[in-house]
Amino acid sequence: MIELKNVSYSVFDKDTGKNKEILKNINVVFPKNKVTVITGHNGSGKSTMIKLLMGVLRATSGEILLDGKNLNEMSIDQRAKMGITVAFQNPVRFKGLTVRDLLNLASKSKNSVVDACEFLAKVGLCAKDYVDRELDDSLSGGELKRIELAIALAKGGDVMLFDEPEAGIDLWSFDALVGLFKELKNKTVIIVSHQRKLLESADYILLLDTKKDAILGRRKDILPLLDSPKCRKLGGQII
């Protein structure tokens, strides 16, 4: 079970000369082995929350706990070894490292084309066309995004974080993507998304709003809130 306890995160705003609070006193317990979709308007701190959970960013105050264990002092790689895995919103490009290299590093083993095929097929890519490709500018944004998902699947873990996994993925393969998250049973899956289909497939929804407290609830209870005109006005509309 992963949880945020009184977590705040602020950054220094050069324009105002003051600290800007991105997340304020957040208390959330992500339900274990369920799919939770985090949604909210731009700037509500969704990606920040993913980065705090992974340890890429450090909370200004508060605690992040995994099965009761405080993660605050844990580095990114320590958290990765404890079973937290992330697929970033903007995947990184590497000159020289191939898709296979990353899959090998992720799964801590040498992947044959057959093994790599398993992970790449899940994200709709043909392994033999991709395993030896470099993760450089020759890949399109959508291809890179799928590979990022495949790398996360190859690593595995009990807590899987996906930041806007649908961005850049063409609509025809969208159902497959939704299916992919449904397959991740027995894992705590946390997805940042605005996509209605993903929200509709979630067990829980966490609604972030800079002006209000965060709300976590079952899908059926939160979805109607998102469709309210007031929410749309705030920019928290779903697509």
């Binding site: 990114i76 790689d77 070894k81 590497f94 020289g96 990353l102």
Partner: protein
């Protein structure tokens, strides 16, 4: 196996991927002398009469053959200068593996200057690999100065991989090429320096012929207090295409200097130079950390991939 034989084997393995006697034509030069050779009818290897070195003559139309001509130096205080000329016949298609490894266990400097001149006839195709390596615990410097001259006739094709993966105290790599019509040159350079090492590279390419093209891809990593200097000078004198891509990673107190020069002397010449030098991008390290690698492990993997 004696210690000496072990060193020979290690050097030959690393610079020329030789783990046993190679197939086909070869010449192994050790400590300034040719110690083993096989000359075939298709690819002849002949000692020069006027100076130190060999002529490698590839007959017209020879396909899918290879030549290995590694050089190893295992003594301290030796300075070796060699001239090798390659005459590649019309429409031949060969792989040439050169390279030099120095094992210097002493305190005096050991140096190898290899001057390789390629004469490529019409329509031939050459893949040329040279690796440079320095090992040994002595204080003596390990110096390698490879000079490559490439004369490319119509429709010839030359792909060069030049690799220096550590241990070389000083290197001055000079490559000059002149390309005639439809000739195509690809150069891939990889250089890793550390400690107080210095590596210099100069590429002088003249695109003389119509539809000639050159692509230079240089990737370098400078660690410790090492210094690298990269100069490329591409001249387009006809309807031609030239592309230079120079990427450098600096770590610790490493220094990389890159000087691009492209000169278009013809209205239809297209020449491009891209250069980027910097530390390893933080988000690359973070990504690998999210896979469970420590910062140091992530850095090592990124460099390994970059120089692959």
């Amino acid at each position: 196996m004696s210690e000496i034989a072990k060193i020979d084997k290690e050097l030959l393995g690393q610079v020329a991927d030789l783990h046993s006697v190679p197939q086909g034509s070869f010449n192994i030069r050790k400590n300034g002398e040719s110690v083993e050779r096989n000359s075939t009818k298709e690819i002849q290897i002949v000692s020069k009469k006027d100076k130190s070195g060999i002529d490698i003559i590839v007959a017209e139309g020879v396909k899918n053959r290879s030549v290995h001509i590694p050089v190893i130096i295992t003594v301290s205080g030796l300075s070796d200068l060699v001239y090798n000329d390659f005459y590649i016949g019309k429409n031949a298609d060969v792989l040439i593996v050169a390279g030099c490894g120095i094992h210097n266990a002493g305190d005096a400097k050991s140096q190898h200057d290899g001057i390789h001149t390629f004469h490529l006839a019409d329509g031939c195709k050459v893949r040329y690999i040279e690796k440079h390596l320095g090992i040994g615990s002595g204080k003596g410097e390990k110096i390698l100065n490879p000079t490559t001259v490439i004369e490319m006739e119509n429709g010839s094709n030359f792909e060069m991989e030049t690799i220096q993966l550590g241990g070389v105290s000083y290197s001055d790599r000079k490559t000059t090429a002149v390309l005639m019509d439809d000739a195509k040159l690809v150069i891939k350079e990889k250089v890793l320096t550390d400690e107080k090492q210095t590596a210099k590279t100069l590429f002088n390419v003249t695109l003389k012929g119509k539809n000639s093209s050159v692509e230079v891809i240089s990737r370098s990593v400078a660690k410790g207090k090492s210094k690298q200097k990269f100069i490329s000078n591409i001249k387009g004198q006809n309807e031609c295409f030239g592309h230079v891509e120079c990427d450098g990673i600096i770590l610790d107190n490493g220094v990389i200097e890159s000087t691009p020069k492209i000169v278009a002397e013809n209205i239809n010449a297209t020449l491009v130079h891209e250069a980027a030098i910097g530390k390893i991008a933080g988000d690359q390290i973070v990504k690998l950390q999210t896979l469970g690698l420590s910062e140091e492990e992530a850095q090592a993997e990124i460099i390994k991939g970059f120089l692959k």
